[in-house]
């Protein structure tokens, strides 16, 4: 290697850069921890490639401008938007686009105040906290309420837009929400649309993916299905999907939490004598079958029933 007068490299080994930046690790983590979401992973890989190339270009002095990295994540509830946002923060940090790589997750309540003059300091406080990291605004469309023109959300939007423009190299804003409402939000606030370069759509999980997710969730907590329970779970997913308030992976998480509850109850009432680790960590068919999803739906959607629990 010879020294350039400007100290700028003449060649760049992208593969080596890729390994050195630790991006590979984040992408591997993304592949391992997230089931499904193929288009999202694809987009993230593309973004990572773009950033890596851009970094190389900047090292060579070919470009000086920071690319716009603000993003919007759209998709149904429980499709992993927050999880991906957290990984995104790590990814951008490794690539050197954000200095600290922390994620500040907020909703309308954290940005918009209750009375005149309350909103600006609140929004600015959040922005100050998010500097050097990623600001994740969940359900961003609540910021804009078209039916109330005196709504303070507008003030928060203006401050956000200003910071998104002026502090592009200090923070990355990720907005998330359901696809249709986000579209309406963007069409009412064209400023956002033009400042957000990356729109990533999160597809719903397939039944098969949800089953794998449920197994992953259980194994993370050292539980497992027995064979019959696994078929029951597959059936549960199919049924649950057709019922109201289906929230993809979040519904699965809730179902598993309740199954654990029933399992604990069953062990208490049935167990005689000592239990081994296997008994303590196996979810059986009976624990799942007790769910009312199998008998036609949630009580909350069928009025005039006594208990609201599933």
């Amino acid at each position: 290697m010879h020294e350039e007068e400007t100290n700028r490299p003449t060649h760049i080994d992208l593969a080596a850069e890729y390994e050195a930046s630790g991006v590979a690790e984040v992408l591997r983590e993304l592949d391992e921890e997230l089931i499904g979401l193929a288009p999202v992973k694809q987009r993230i890989r593309e973004t990572a490639a773009l950033l890596l190339v851009d970094k190389a270009r900047r090292d060579m002095g070919l470009s000086t401008e920071t690319p716009t990295l603000h993003m919007s994540f759209t998709g149904n509830p429980g499709t992993g938007k927050t999880t991906v946002a957290r990984m995104m923060a790590g990814l951008l940090h490794r690539l050197g686009y954000v200095r600290k790589g922390h994620l500040v997750s907020v909703t309308r309540d954290d940005l918009v105040g209750q009375y005149i003059g309350h909103t600006a300091p609140k929004t600015k406080d959040v922005l100050k906290k998010a500097m050097g990291g990623v600001l994740f605004i969940d359900e961003a469309y609540y910021l804009y309420k078209p039916d109330n023109e005196r709504d303070y959300g507008q003030e928060a939007i203006e401050i956000l837009l200003q910071v998104m423009e002026n502090n592009r190299d200090d923070l990355v804003v990720i907005m998330a929400g359901y696809a249709d409402r986000m579209d309406r939000f963007f069409s009412a606030n064209p400023g956002f649309r033009s400042r957000i370069a990356h729109h990533i759509d999160f597809p719903d999980y397939t039944d098969d993916e949800l089953l794998r997710i449920s197994e992953l969730m259980l194994s993370e907590q050292n539980y497992e299905f027995d064979a019959a329970a696994e078929t029951a779970m597959a059936e549960y997913i199919g049924l649950r999907r057709t019922q109201p308030h289906f929230a993809n992976a979040r519904s699965i998480r809730n179902a598993l939490d309740r199954a654990r509850l029933r399992q604990a109850n069953r062990l208490f009432s049935e167990a005689k004598g000592p239990l081994d680790a296997k008994a303590l960590s196996t979810i059986t068919e009976a624990d799942l079958r007790a769910s009312r999803v199998y008998s036609g739906g949630l009580d909350v959607d069928r009025p005039l029933q006594k208990e609201a629990a599933e």
Binding site: R99, K100, L127, K128, K129, M131, G132, N167
Partner: protein
């Protein structure tokens, strides 16, 4: 007269890059940053006006620098100092304090000598 106090008082004024580095040092130590300003830099005036609340949960110096810019915009001719508070002792102990803004024309410290009983003298200082 160039008035100095706090850390770095023997150095020339810090520029914004240096201030950012100092603020980042403060944050990395886990201390809270706060801004204070005054138009009365008399050494006995310990209590300066607070500019907003102390910032407890920042991760990056940029957040504090944004506040500093705001403060400079509102009070271009004031003395502004950055302070770092450490709460490990259970109360906010000042760990660092340094001036980051000063007026273009600084006041003088003026000494007033007054005759007193007998031939004794009393001294007073004020900024003017």
């Amino acid at each position: 007269m160039r008035i100095t106090q706090g850390c770095f008082s023997f150095l020339p004024d810090l520029d914004d890059v240096q201030i950012t580095a100092q603020v980042q040092y403060i944050l990395d130590k886990g201390w809270a940053v706060s801004l204070e300003y005054t138009y009365d830099p008399h050494p006995r005036n310990t209590y300066w006006e607070m500019w907003g609340h102390p910032m407890f949960d920042l991760r990056d110096a940029k957040g504090a620098m944004m506040e500093l810019d705001e403060c400079r915009k509102a009070h271009p001719d004031a003395y502004i100092r950055i302070q770092a508070f450490d709460d490990t002792r259970g109360f906010e102990t000042v760990q660092m304090s340094f001036i980051v803004n000063r007026p273009s024309e600084e006041p003088k410290i003026h000494m007033q000598r007054t005759d007193f009983e007998g031939r004794s003298q009393k001294y007073a200082w004020d900024c003017r």
